[in-house]
Each structure stands twice: as structure tokens, then as C-alpha cells.
């Protein structure tokens, strides 16, 4: 029998980039195949070609033995190819249910959308991922994590033959990830082929049958998961060894930089306090929707604050906008890099320069030379894979975009750097680099406040862990020796599960 999906000699060129170079692979029905590779290795490009988004330059694609010639998004969908895109494909103004069935809503007479059926089916699809989201809500009111759930539900809403998941868990926490795995396993047992892209190696070992590794657009190898090891995969991907151990302590922790007390920023932050010292990495942990991002925004000035006090270096500040936060020496890397972080239509140089306009200027003049030099520095230092610093950021791979985003704020040399989900979508190599970078920053005396939903990350980075739940800071753990269980217990002290908080927006008030 022919394999479910067979790819032969696939190549794809972008201006100045060979995104895929003669890649062949085949996936059987019911197989869960991991696709691994560094940022920019071509994983998303491969997924997108199979899903009909990009046209290929060379190569053939066969589904169940039949060659697929002309493929566009709709044709791919009709063939039973579902995809969760790394960058998302939701329309914020529309409801959850409608997004899930975009263009394929169930209809009654005369093509009229059957709203009731649509919502019911949407609710079921979401519920199997272990979350309750009202299908009538607009997507714009959802958190990134909830959006991700909806995104997955959307891909699951078809009669699937092939499912491509491009970093579906980047925005999820453990609970939802587990549920997602259950669903994927069930689909696979029903004969659906799954291509699973992720930078979290642990997930690959937990979920996948086999793994294909790409390097610089070329096939680096395919292994059975049972016959390989983390180290081998990393070597295939990166070509060297990478370690994630906690750095040996011994950093000099200095004076208090940030002191926030009972910050109240409705509707999500009720009474949150935190302090960060210079040279210290404080991780803010908590469940999705616990208001961590909002708390950080309130500190930075990006969100209106109703009460509480914020002091930087002992001096009280009252930021009325991000510029005030910036002025006080705060930098903030937002979690949603596309919507809030990057200028996708502009090149790396300008993106990096956005926060440091005065630094890259001579007098009143914006200096392209200085800005380019600065950008080049960061491209080299963070190993951003790009043909040139003049590349449009929207054309970079997801992980490289994340690096540009970090670079933008590193350039500002803040006293306090708030990083919301620093490694979302970042490959293992880059992840270790980012950790190294953050630690180096701390070594230099910068105070770091890191929000992360990735518990191993929290445990690897934190000098101190502060846990939030329902808009309050509910506890604190030393970074050394803390365990995932301890963090989770604190985070869920007041709520049994995220699902219940999120079900009714009004309920949390009670």
C-alpha cells in the first residue's frame, strides 16, 4: 500500500534563501511523525507546501499514492489535509465557532449558516481539548493560549487524512498539552497521519513514532523515536551538543530595582506585588489567564493601573504609557510577537532600531550606518538566520523573529527587562543561547522578570519564582530546588482548573 504522504525531491526557493533543498520523506497512515530542525530549517515551509499555501519549485507530492499537482489552501483542505499554522489563522473580529468553520460553516436552507449547530459542534471540538471556551466569544477577547486551542480545534474540524501541527504547544501549558496529545493519539489510531513540529524534544519522545530532522533546508535524517536519543537529535539538528542545566549559582544579586506593590489593573490584575533585584532573574509562573502578562504591562505602562505603587530603584514611578516605562529603564518583550512586538513589513535594521532611535542617530539624523551595525551585531550575537540585515522580518522563520524581538529590547540596555515568553517557538540551540543571554544580562546587573508557561524553562532560569493566580501573586519559591509540582500546586491553589476560570468571564469576580 502506498504511504499516506510521500514527498520526493521537494525544493523551495525564496529570494536569497533556499528554504527547502531536495527533501524527501514519507509518512504512513496512523503515523505520528515529528519534524525537527533549527529555526529557519524549513519546517513551516514544508508544512505550508503540503497545505497548499506555497507553491513548490521542484519535487512531487503524493497523497495515498496519487500525485497532487495543483494545490491551494482550499484544495488541500478538501483533500483532508488539516494544518495548525505557526503564525495563526484566526480572524479576531469573528466568533470562535465561526473561526473554527471558516468558510465551511454548517448551513440550513439557502446557504444560511446554522449558528446553533455550528456552536454546538465547536463546543464539542474545544471540549475534547479539555478547555471550555464559549464558541460565541470573539477571538479578539481570547488570550494567546485560548486562541491556540481554537486554532487546533479548527484543524480538527475537518475529515482528516493528514494533520500538520506546526508548534501547536508553544503557547500552551501542561494541562492542555496533555489533552492535545490524547486527541492526536486518538486521531492516529483512526489512521490519520500527523506531522508534528515542535522545539520541545520531550514532547517528541512522549508523542511521536518517528522523527525527521531538517538542517538548512536539507534532510538530515529520519529515525524511529524508540531508537534515538535527545543528544542524537540535537546533534542532527544543530551539529553540536547543547545543554540546559541550571547555571551554577554565584551571581551577585544587588539592590532592589523593581518594587511593585498591590498593583490593581482591572479586569485581570487585582492585587499583585513583586520585587526584582539587580542581577536577579525572577520568573513569574502561573496558569493561562492568571494575569501575568497584564501585570507586566501595568508595570511597563502599557496598561492602565488603578491602584498600587511601582518603584524603580527606589523612585516611585507612575507610567502612563510604555514611553514612561522605557524612560524609567524598563524594557518589555511582549508575548505576541506578530501583533505587538514586530514591524513585520520592515527589515531587521529598523525593527532593532525602533526602541533606540536616539542611539542610532547622529544628532537629529537617523543613521542607517549605525543602525545597520547595531543590527549586524545582534544578528551575529543571537545567530539570527537571515540572508542580510535588510531582510523583511515577516519573511524570517518564527524562531528568528523571536530573536529579532529580543534584540530590539536588548539594544535598549534596560535596567529591568521584562520578557514575556522568551522562547516561544525558539529552537533548542537558540533557546540555550537565549538562556545564556538572559543570564549574561543578569550577570551585568540587569534585573530580569521572565514570564513563562514552560515550567522546565522556569526551573532552569529562575533565581526566584513568583506564582500568580487569578490576578494575585500567591506565593514565592526559591529557584534552586523548586519542582514543577510545587509551582503547579501554588498556581492552582484557588482554582481547580483553568477551564473553570475561563468558562464565564463574570464568574471570576465572585
Amino acid at each position: 500500500m502506498a504511504p499516506r504522504l510521500e514527498i520526493k525531491g521537494l525544493s523551495k526557493f525564496f529570494p536569497g534563501v533556499r528554504a527547502l533543498d531536495d527533501v524527501s520523506m514519507s509518512v504512513e497512515g496512523g503515523e505520528i511523525r515529528a519534524l525537527l530542525g533549527e529555526n529557519g530549517a524549513g519546517k513551516s515551509t514544508l508544512g505550508k507546501i503540503v497545505a497548499g499555501v506555497y507553491s513548490r519549485n521542484q519535487g512531487t507530492i503524493l497523497v495515498d499514492g496519487a500525485e497532487i499537482a495543483d494545490l491551494d489552501e482550499k484544495a488541500a483542505g478538501d483533500l483532508g489535509i488539516g494544518i495548525v499554522h505557526q503564525e495563526g489563522s484566526l480572524v479576531p473580529q469573528l466568533s470562535v465557532a465561526e473561526n473554527i468553520f471558516a468558510g465551511r460553516q454548517p448551513t440550513q436552507w439557502l446557504g444560511q449558516v446554522d449558528v446553533r449547530t455550528m456552536r454546538d459542534r465547536a463546543r464539542v471540538l474545544i471540549a475534547q481539548l479539555g478547555v471550555a471556551i464559549d464558541p460565541a466569544l470573539k477571538v479578539s477577547t481570547l488570550s494567546p493560549a485560548q486562541s491556540q486551542i481554537v486554532e487546533i480545534a479548527k484543524a480538527l474540524s475537518r475529515d482528516l487524512r493528514i494533520l500538520i501541527l506546526d508548534e501547536p504547544t508553544a503557547a500552551l501549558t501542561l494541562t492542555e498539552t496533555e489533552k492535545l496529545f490524547d486527541v492526536v493519539r486518538r486521531l492516529a489510531s483512526n489512521g490519520v497521519s500527523v506531522i508534528y513540529v515542535s522545539h520541545r524534544l520531550a514532547e517528541i519522545f512522549a508523542l511521536c513514532h518517528s522523527v525527521t530532522v531538517l538542517k538548512d533546508g536539507k534532510l538530515a535524517g529520519t529515525r524511529r523515536v524508540s531508537e534515538t536519543s535527545t543528544d542524537e537529535l540535537i546533534r542532527l539538528m544543530v551539529g553540536r551538543d547543547v545543554h540546559f542545566s541550571r547555571a551554577a549559582a554565584g551571581r551577585k544579586i544587588g539592590d532592589i530595582v523593581l518594587e511593585a506593590e498591590s498593583v490593581d489593573a482591572p479586569p485581570l490584575v487585582r492585587s499583585a506585588s513583586i520585587s526584582v533585584r539587580s542581577g536577579e532573574i525572577v520568573c513569574l509562573a502561573g496558569l493561562i489567564g492568571s494575569g501575568r502578562s497584564e501585570f507586566c504591562e501595568a508595570i511597563f505602562g502599557a496598561r492602565r493601573r488603578r491602584g498600587g505603587s511601582i518603584r524603580i530603584g527606589g523612585k516611585p514611578i507612575d507610567p502612563r504609557g510604555p514611553w514612561d516605562g522605557k524612560h524609567a529603564g524598563i524594557g518589555m518583550v511582549p508575548e505576541d510577537r506578530k501583533a505587538a512586538g514586530l514591524f513585520l513589513g520592515m527589515d531587521i535594521v529598523n525593527n532593532v532600531a525602533a526602541t533606540v532611535l536616539s542611539k542610532v542617530s547622529s544628532g537629529a539624523n537617523f543613521s542607517n550606518r549605525k543602525a545597520e551595525a547595531l543590527a549586524k551585531n545582534f544578528v551575529n550575537e543571537l545567530r539570527i538566520a537571515t540572508p542580510s540585515v535588510r531582510q523583511i522580518v515577516g519573511n524570517l522563520s518564527g524562531g528568528n523573529q523571536q530573536k529579532v524581538l529580543l534584540a530590539k529590547w536588548l539594544a535598549m540596555e534596560p535596567r529591568l527587562l521584562i520578557v514575556d515568553e522568551p522562547t516561544r517557538g525558539v529552537d533548542v540551540g537558540a533557546r540555550s543561547e537565549i538562556y545564556r543571554l538572559l543570564r549574561a544580562l543578569a550577570d551585568k546587573g540587569v534585573a530580569l522578570l521572565v514570564v513563562s508557561s514552560d515550567l522546565p524553562e522556569v526551573l532552569a532560569l529562575a533565581d526566584r519564582i513568583v506564582v500568580m493566580a487569578e490576578g494575585r501573586t500567591v506565593g514565592e519559591l526559591p529557584g534552586d530546588g523548586a519542582s514543577e509540582e510545587q509551582v503547579l500546586r501554588l498556581a492552582t491553589r484557588y482554582t481547580a482548573s483553568v477551564a473553570e476560570v475561563r468558562k464565564e468571564p463574570g464568574m471570576a469576580e465572585a
Partner: protein, 338 residues
């Protein structure tokens, strides 16, 4: 459909009943449609009380409703386009071009009136098709593309029939003059009403037209979701063109005269009403109902100014302030900064 998850579902059902009412109220309070509806009613009431002999008379209402018909017809198409994140500035020229062609066919060539009506609408649809092709195939943005065709279609109108066709034929004129026996409002209004009702239903409810909300909301996401963005935008432009054609034909028939100046500047009125009705240049929002309420509101303001005999020098001030007032109302409900 199967209900696998029992426990949370049961709870939800409770909530749902309570929510339905609350939700409707909240949605209405947040919606531009309601704001406009209240404003329209308030204005009509006030005028009826102050000018009982002038405003709420049959002849005044007839005059108001008949004259808002062309803008009303165009708003249906413009709303569709703006929901899809684009727009068409050439509607006034398309309207004139279609009207003149219908008149040429009926008046100069002596073909039957039915054929002339059809020709007019087809010419309009053709203009829309050209707009759509320029926007989707060549990839020129809608602003400059339809600014270009605005002058082109107007120029073609002049070239087709230098000073217009007057009179056309009585049979043709009947299409724009026939009035219902009861209310005695002429056909353009009824055509508009049908379009608003059918179009309103189509755009709000049917799967096909809902795709425009996806396109306007996030064209890339729509494309990734398998929605054929270009094809739909093209269809949107053709519909807009056909509606402009219809408006042109009805206008020419009503006046029994196809003038080359028909619809000059109407695009701004149409876009004003559409945006007042809740559309935005960014796309993804708006309803036909909102659009038509916008048209009605502006028409009533203009009528009120005539009845009030507000000096011509001051009218712009009044219209502008009322416009700003109406669109700013719902801004105060939601806090400005997220």
C-alpha cells in the same frame, strides 16, 4: 452531533438562557446599529412634534424615501466591499455610464425597455468586473485603481453621449416611475428596500457572504483557511458594479433622462453613510442594516435642515457636527485603552 462532555454542558445550558437576554442587550448597546436607530427615531419624533404639518406628511416622506434610494442601493454594495476590507470610488461614474448606456439602447436604438434595463445593469457589472480585475489580478490597491476608473468611466460616459439622452422613452421611464398603489412611493425606493432586505439577510447569515468578514478581518488568515480571497473580492466588485448599474438605470428612468453628470460625488456620500453605519476602512465589520440606517439618518438630517430652513452657509456645519456626534457616541461606551 454528539454530546460527549456532559457535566460542563448542563451547567452551560443554564447560563445560556440567562445570557441570551443579557447578551442581546449588551450587543445592542455596543452596536452602531442601535445608536443610529435611536438617533433616527429621536430625530423623527422631534421633527414630528415641532413641524407636525411639514415633516410627517406623506409627500415629505415620499420625497425623502425616493431620494435616498440611489445612495441606499449603493450602500449595500459598498458595505459588502468594506466588510471585505476594500472599497470602490468609481461608483458614481459607473452609475452614470450604466444609465447612459441604458438610455442609448432604449432611446437611440429603440430597443425594448426591459433589454435596456438589463444592458444598464450589465454595463455596471462590467465596470465592476474591470475594477475587480485591476485590484485582484494586477494587484493595484483599490484606492488608486478605482480613482483611476472613476475618471475613466466618467470620460467614457461623456464620449458615449456628449450631453446625455433626454428624453429616453416612456416605456423605459415607467421603470423608475411606477409607484405602488397604496403608499405611492416610486420604484427606486422599493428596489432599494428589496435589496436591503435580501442583501441584509445574505450578508448577515449566509455562508457565502460571511466569507467577506473573514477576508476583511484578516485576509491572510482567510487565505490560509481556504477562502478564495481574490475570487470573492472580484465578486464583490461585480456586485457593487451591478448595483451601481441598477441605481443608474433607475435614476435615468425616474428622470426620463440620462445625464452625464449623474452621480458626481456620490461616492463620498455612500462611503460616509457606510462608515457611519459601522464599517471601517480596516474591514471585517459592518452590516447592511447599519449602512441603511446611516443613509436614513443623513437623509433625515438633510430634510430637517430644509424644513428648519437652516441657512445654506450653516448646513455643512450641522451635517459635520451631527456626523461626528453620531460616530463618537459609541466611543464613550468602551474604554479607550485596552
Amino acid at each position: 452531533m454528539t454530546m460527549q462532555i456532559t457535566q460542563p454542558m448542563a451547567e452551560n445550558a443554564e447560563h445560556r438562557r440567562e445570557n441570551l437576554f443579557v447578551r442581546i442587550v449588551r450587543r445592542l448597546a455596543d452596536s452602531r446599529e442601535l445608536t443610529l436607530f435611536v438617533l433616527v427615531i429621536a430625530l423623527a419624533l422631534a421633527m414630528s412634534i415641532v413641524y407636525p404639518n411639514n415633516f410627517p406628511t406623506a409627500s415629505n416622506m415620499r420625497a425623502v424615501l425616493l431620494n435616498l434610494a440611489p445612495v441606499g442601493i449603493l450602500v449595500c454594495g459598498m458595505m459588502l466591499l468594506m466588510i471585505g476590507g476594500t472599497f470602490d470610488l468609481s461608483v458614481g461614474s459607473t452609475l452614470a455610464f450604466s444609465g447612459v448606456w441604458a438610455a442609448v439602447v432604449a432611446g437611440w436604438w429603440g430597443w425594448p425597455a426591459e433589454v435596456a434595463v438589463l444592458v444598464g445593469i450589465l454595463v455596471g457589472a462590467l465596470c465592476g468586473l474591470v475594477n475587480g480585475l485591476i485590484v485582484t489580478r494586477i494587484g493595484i490597491n483599490a484606492l488608486i485603481a478605482t480613482l483611476g476608473t472613476l475618471t475613466i468611466y466618467r470620460s467614457l460616459t461623456y464620449v458615449t453621449a456628449g450631453t446625455g439622452v433626454t428624453p429616453i422613452t416612456d416605456a423605459f421611464a415607467e421603470y423608475g416611475r411606477a409607484a405602488d398603489p397604496l403608499l405611492r412611493i416610486q420604484s427606486p425606493f422599493w428596489a432599494m428596500l428589496v435589496l436591503v432586505l435580501v442583501g441584509g439577510w445574505l450578508v448577515a447569515r449566509t455562508r457565502f457572504f460571511r466569507q467577506f468578514y473573514f477576508i476583511g478581518g484578516n485576509p491572510r488568515a482567510a487565505q490560509l483557511s481556504g477562502i478564495r480571497v481574490d475570487r470573492l473580492i472580484l465578486i464583490g466588485f461585480v456586485i457593487m458594479g451591478a448595483l451601481a448599474g441598477l441605481a443608474g438605470v433607475l435614476g435615468a428612468a425616474r428622470l426620463n433622462s440620462a445625464v452625464v453628470n449623474a452621480g458626481v460625488g456620490i461616492e463620498l456620500k455612500v462611503i460616509t453613510a457606510t462608515v457611519l453605519g459601522g464599517a471601517s476602512l480596516k474591514g471585517g465589520e459592518g452590516t447592511i442594516l447599519g449602512g441603511i440606517l446611516g443613509v436614513l439618518f443623513i437623509a433625515l438630517i438633510e430634510n430637517a435642515m430644509i424644513i428648519n430652513a437652516i441657512g445654506v452657509f450653516w448646513q455643512g456645519l450641522v451635517v459635520g457636527l451631527v456626523l461626528l456626534f453620531a460616530v463618537s457616541l459609541d466611543r464613550f461606551k468602551t474604554s479607550s485603552r485596552a
